[in-house]
Symmetry: D3
Subunit: 209 residues, 6 copies
Amino acid sequence: MQLQYQLLLFTLLLAASDALVQDFCVADLSLPAGPAGYPCKKSVTENDFVFSGLAASGNTSNIISAAVTPAFDGQFPGVNGLGISIARLDLAPGGVIPLHTHPGGSEILVVIEGTICAGFISSFGNTPYLKTLNKGDIMVFPVGLLHFQFNSGKGPALAFVSFSTQNPGLQITDFALFKNDFPTELVAKTTFLDVAQIKKLKGVLGGTN
Amino acid sequence: MQLQYQLLLFTLLLAASDALVQDFCVADLSLPAGPAGYPCKKSVTENDFVFSGLAASGNTSNIISAAVTPAFDGQFPGVNGLGISIARLDLAPGGVIPLHTHPGGSEILVVIEGTICAGFISSFGNTPYLKTLNKGDIMVFPVGLLHFQFNSGKGPALAFVSFSTQNPGLQITDFALFKNDFPTELVAKTTFLDVAQIKKLKGVLGGTN
Amino acid sequence: MQLQYQLLLFTLLLAASDALVQDFCVADLSLPAGPAGYPCKKSVTENDFVFSGLAASGNTSNIISAAVTPAFDGQFPGVNGLGISIARLDLAPGGVIPLHTHPGGSEILVVIEGTICAGFISSFGNTPYLKTLNKGDIMVFPVGLLHFQFNSGKGPALAFVSFSTQNPGLQITDFALFKNDFPTELVAKTTFLDVAQIKKLKGVLGGTN
Amino acid sequence: MQLQYQLLLFTLLLAASDALVQDFCVADLSLPAGPAGYPCKKSVTENDFVFSGLAASGNTSNIISAAVTPAFDGQFPGVNGLGISIARLDLAPGGVIPLHTHPGGSEILVVIEGTICAGFISSFGNTPYLKTLNKGDIMVFPVGLLHFQFNSGKGPALAFVSFSTQNPGLQITDFALFKNDFPTELVAKTTFLDVAQIKKLKGVLGGTN
Amino acid sequence: MQLQYQLLLFTLLLAASDALVQDFCVADLSLPAGPAGYPCKKSVTENDFVFSGLAASGNTSNIISAAVTPAFDGQFPGVNGLGISIARLDLAPGGVIPLHTHPGGSEILVVIEGTICAGFISSFGNTPYLKTLNKGDIMVFPVGLLHFQFNSGKGPALAFVSFSTQNPGLQITDFALFKNDFPTELVAKTTFLDVAQIKKLKGVLGGTN
Amino acid sequence: MQLQYQLLLFTLLLAASDALVQDFCVADLSLPAGPAGYPCKKSVTENDFVFSGLAASGNTSNIISAAVTPAFDGQFPGVNGLGISIARLDLAPGGVIPLHTHPGGSEILVVIEGTICAGFISSFGNTPYLKTLNKGDIMVFPVGLLHFQFNSGKGPALAFVSFSTQNPGLQITDFALFKNDFPTELVAKTTFLDVAQIKKLKGVLGGTN
């Protein structure tokens, strides 16, 4: 009977061989990406589907007392083409992830440790949706809307955030306005912020012009 | 021979009748929308595919000396399900469309009259991409990124902006921060703006808290 | 100047009002779903975007010493239309999530506590990709492929699993074969399992025929 | 041990129940469709996934000596939301499916009986791709391009055509031009056909104006 | 305090660097495209997002007294991957864009100058939807359906047409039938047009066979 | 007049030339695929859209008395990017296609000859949907669900199966469990099958460990 099975295997696999290469598409980061992601690596192992880069705390010794550690396609090529990615959020006491958007995808946050105040603002009516989240709570942030998280507890806070895309992008409003050479005059004109305020934050964040 | 054609029509159309209802799906705004848009109207005419609401100039007698007039699914139900929409931009001399994002889609702007300075900021490296556009020039703004337009000429400016979705949304950063009851303390904490600056703009835009 | 801003707001919002209703689409579970998800609720609050149902451990007092607690669209209507969802995995010592697929989406698992052995099998070459994961490790499981997780440590294990869809589905192979009235004869014919084996597992899982 | 399994089932299914309703979405044709298809039927049986309407030959006693019998969402609600549909083509000797497009999807044709000459025309360079197909041959027609099939053999021909959507639409060029009240003057203006030719075909197909 | 911000930037950007490369994907036209578009250029400037090729009138000194000037991915690589493109329509008095389809996307037209009569034909019931459009009017043409535009006024007409894709394609029915080597016999067989009519138009358009 | 038409062609085609390359995207299998499929071949002929590999019966002289012959992107590069593919099923008397899933797409089966018993199992409630299909009957199998087909008649059976993707994948449960080096201990742990049963089938299918 084994022989017959062998024949079966031969028949089925010979016919199907080329057809089955796309169960997954681990990114070959050495080739240029396209709109749908990176070309697929030819040869993969189990290590392409596992990532340990989120196991250690991010360094929160900075002014926001916070760190974002991503596992997007650039860090974790196994997610290429799969429509999902994840990141780690470390928030020391007082830590904050400033207002930002992810242009490319929606986000779910799950609190692992501590207490996090989070919120987003809808474009319709400019309504803020704010909530204090405890361990085990989850919150969803719809694609492209301004949102933030900060540690509202006394100890450190830890969360994981998942995204509906392999690379959601991250646009921190303050960085977009003040940490570049976007001319102060144009920032003022398009935000109505005072020039002094703009110059102050450009100074802090290293922006010019 | 006509009879034979009639038979053909009878045969073909009888078989195909129910299958062909989805050339388009004009929105029935009286029913609740879903993630892909509104349910389809049962009966349509040519008027469902035409809209004259962009023919007149928007009223620019306001502080930004500008007006946005949309033809999204809510105003122009014919675009429902078709992945496209359009809006009209009127910019009086000095007019500006403040920094904003469209969470749902990319945008192409075409200048019809006047001179417009436009720009967007990428999330990677916070690079501003700025350009002065003259009549007939077009510019594309990738989905979800902060961008702006202002009249950099002496006379009025007119542009049409198209979107890669039936409803791109519109989140004006200033409105999201200052034109609502988003607490001043939280705005300060998540943007590093000074409290005085926040209160000033909340005063102007009608925000509270 | 406030007056002028008020005029601006009036102008902009009047024009844009209907267009901006789709920042999100919280599921109205009382209406029938369609292929893209549920119709949107008319009125939402911050509570629609937050879920506490994953905060408590699942009950692992069962034969697999494991529990899956989902936050899919049915439990967490805020994810409707956003292409993402999440679930909690509790694995007591010895606990196992038997071989299963998610027909609708890819999965990322992050280990919060304990040690988990996980794996999936590709359809091309029937290659198993197996790995032991420690706290903070992540693993991605491509859409539709057979995979499993079990607690390979000494204490309890906890993980969160995110999905690239609002409702990934869950097809446990054993349940599909043995926990229903799928005739034993057909199970044998289509799996080559021995009838005695099938009857034994049908007995355990409550299957008939 | 059975008891423990029962507990498992209870635990798992209680948690997962609402989450798993979307393995499929059989169309409820009594409700209005949306851009993604019809709302899902609440209760289904195996008969919702099977269709016998393609088993019998279509009636080819008509001027084109051909018949198209569709199994699109309107006829076969089981395909709703699944991105696939099928139709049967019967071509008596001399039979022809006139030039047409499917606005919504690509097509694969497989010849079951007889000999069929088929072709499509690309929009780039207006290149015709023509081929005579025998039993068992397949041909693919890219979405939206003009194509045709006719019986180039001596006996009857039978084919099945599959589509990459639940409802591809069907626009037969001759019907669009001549079998309606599209004014002869406009047909002439937009096609450069002679008025006499237009009137002749309008007469045959039952068009007016 | 600046030092602390610098630390923040270092931390955040180091972690996120590779993750943020896909705000956009300007086409590298020197590499082969795939189904989702072209691979992304490595280095971009603001000029990649701006195009002046639509600023000048198209040359309407031809038999249709009309010109279409596209800004699709091939001309305007900045739209690659963004699901949108645009073109300019110039119609001299009497000018006409003959019946055509865009296999790949839906279209919105906005009239900038003059009066344009436009229409499309649905596949269901072969219903024509016709309308005369004045300056500022918009009309939407659902994907894949036959449509046309002609100048119905006395002076020149100008319009911009936007598409729901980076490359909608353009299949002009007359060109597909008569401006190639598609054999006259096959044109006749699949359109029911008279051979004399076909030969006449092939003569005019340069077709053979 | 011909001259004028020539001018038209020149004008239109010059403007549009680069824009129209993506009516289709025949796979260049020599280049690495990406998540959306293979890069497009530069030069194509009508033979790229036709495939004769399904014309001959598959070899059913094997233990399952069955053969699957695919025309996926690997065998039939013309389907690349078009969201559709097809395969041929040959079932000798007694033949069976064992329980399997297609991770990537839904399937429609049409019976060409003989009698086929087919079924799938939903993940919700583990409900089997079983049906005996005769010549001309069709059945749809929703994406990712376990399903099977076997010849329930006396003579040979033939079917064609179409898929909603260019490469649906094929995961045969028995092969995933027993035809590889997936350790027996892990198979037992994650399926509850007896070790003896596993070893027996591993022996038959050539698995190890």
